[in-house]
Amino acid sequence: MPVLTKEQQDYKKFSKSKRPKPPLLKNMTMAFVVGGTICVIGQVFLSFFIAKGLTPSQAAGPTSIIMIFFGAFLTGTGVYDKLGKYAGAGSIVPITGFANSIVSPAMEFKREGYVFGVAAKMFVVAGPVLVYGITSATIIGLIYYLLHML
């Protein structure tokens, strides 16, 4: 980071006082309601598959697939970004948001072609989540394995 001069630091303090605060309470309420609703829908599918005879860990697979489908479908139809505007983290954090983060760049960069556009840019938002998600899962897995060896 660049080192700021005294004048720049003073301006930063001054401008901070002028900046509107994000409406935290409203944002959190919306995130809770929308995020919660998405999870309830997921739970309905999970319970349905368990009732049909799958074990809970088996039922997680088809439930995720259905929720990813919904996320991708609502992105393609232009609904998910409008939902995200109000819901914020409530629609970003669930797996539907993950689908949105992959489908939206794929759509956006289609005009640059299927190789350098769709395929290359598909993970431009979700890529860091995958990299650090898989890396931390591997490290935790190793620690878990080593602890069990003791």
Binding site: K12, K85, S104
Partner: protein
């Protein structure tokens, strides 16, 4: 010597603006200046295959329309000066490919229209040409994908963020005696007050606008009383507040005649957070509302201070602060 003080020029011939044209997108067309635009698009893709092609098309058509409105034959246009926000200013370059005019491509981010007008006025005052077109464009969808996120991504915008104007503005400058005229111009310095948030450009750009306004008054000996309207480019609501306060601290109270194009373009209920931005922001207000109201005589002396943030996604990701610029042009009915 046509130079005044450190950064200002006084044009001897005072080049006139003899024709303008503005084209805007549908959202802008629902905004405050809807009656002042020459063309409001029904959709922002404008029958093209990509947003970039659409932006090139509106820039090209705004230039053709401005030339037509000026009644100068296209063969008599000596230079076409244009810029936009995209990498390698492709909208300007590609529009120039279609227009077949001698082309100077420029970049000053959202201050580009003032930069183009200054260069154009200097060309005319220096007798290097009779007629010059200065034009710029910006497009919400091309800017979002270059600077921010895919359109369909469900992210939340910050309260400080601004909405890139979809549109193009073009002005034909001429040596002919006509009103309004460009009488003086102040070329700004790059000012960086250490702001680094690309979602808060108004805060970053306000000190640049203030520096140029103060410099303009000091160089010319003019005061705010010499203008009917002082207009910054795209500081938005937060930047405008800051600029007003900084100017007051420096002894200039301009609050009764000062406003900002970024604050005005959209109505508050259009949900654009801190206001509008983009090259077209200052351009469509100047070439539309200001130009037409100067011809009608509502305003006779206007100081336009177009502002620009000279950052890129690369510089932001590398943690750089935002260098900002503001150029001022005085438009007057003589």
């Amino acid at each position: 010597m046509k130079k005044l003080g450190r950064q200002t020029v006084q044009f001897e011939k005072a080049p006139s603006i003899i024709g303008t044209a503005t084209i805007v997108g549908p959202k802008e067309g629902q905004g405050r200046f809807k009656d002042y635009y020459d063309l409001i698009l029904k959709d922002s893709i404008y029958q093209e295959r990509s947003w970039e092609k659409a932006e090139t098309k509106i820039l090209k058509e705004s230039v053709e329309m401005a030339i037509k409105n000026s009644k100068v034959p296209t063969a008599k246009i000596d230079y076409f000066i244009a810029g936009d926000l995209l990498n390698q200013i492709i909208s300007a370059g590609f529009a120039a490919r279609e227009l077949g005019l001698p082309f100077l491509g420029i970049y000053g981010a959202c201050s580009t229209i003032a930069q183009g007008a200054i260069i154009g006025a200097m060309i005319i005052d220096g007798d290097f040409g009779e007629n010059v077109v200065a034009a710029v464009s910006s497009h919400f969808c091309t800017a979002e994908r270059q600077f921010r996120f895919p359109l369909e991504l469900g992210n939340q915008r910050k309260p400080t963020s601004q909405w890139t104007v979809t549109g193009a503005g073009a002005m034909v400058l001429s040596a002919k005696a006509h009103n309004p005229r460009i009488t003086r111009a102040t070329v700004g310095k790059v000012i960086d007050m250490g702001e680094a948030d690309p979602n808060d450009m108004g805060t970053a750009m306000a000190p640049a606008a203030v520096d140029t306004i103060v410099r303009h008054f000091e160089d010319t000996g003019k005061t705010p009383d010499d203008y009917d309207l002082i207009l910054t480019g795209d500081l938005g609501s937060i930047g405008k507040d800051i600029a007003e306060e900084l100017l007051r601290q420096k002894g200039y109270d301009i609050s009764n005649k000062y406003t900002d194009c970024g604050v005005l373009i959209f109505y508050p209920e259009q949900d654009v957070h801190a206001g509008a931005s983009g090259c077209a922001c200052a351009a469509v207000v100047t070439c539309g509302y200001v130009y037409k109201e100067m011809i009608r005589g509502k305003y006779n002396r206007v100081l336009l201070v177009a502002t620009g943030a000279l950052l890129s996604t690369t510089s932001s990701q590398q943690g750089e602060t935002i260098p900002c610029i503001a150029h001022a042009i005085a438009l007057e009915n003589l």
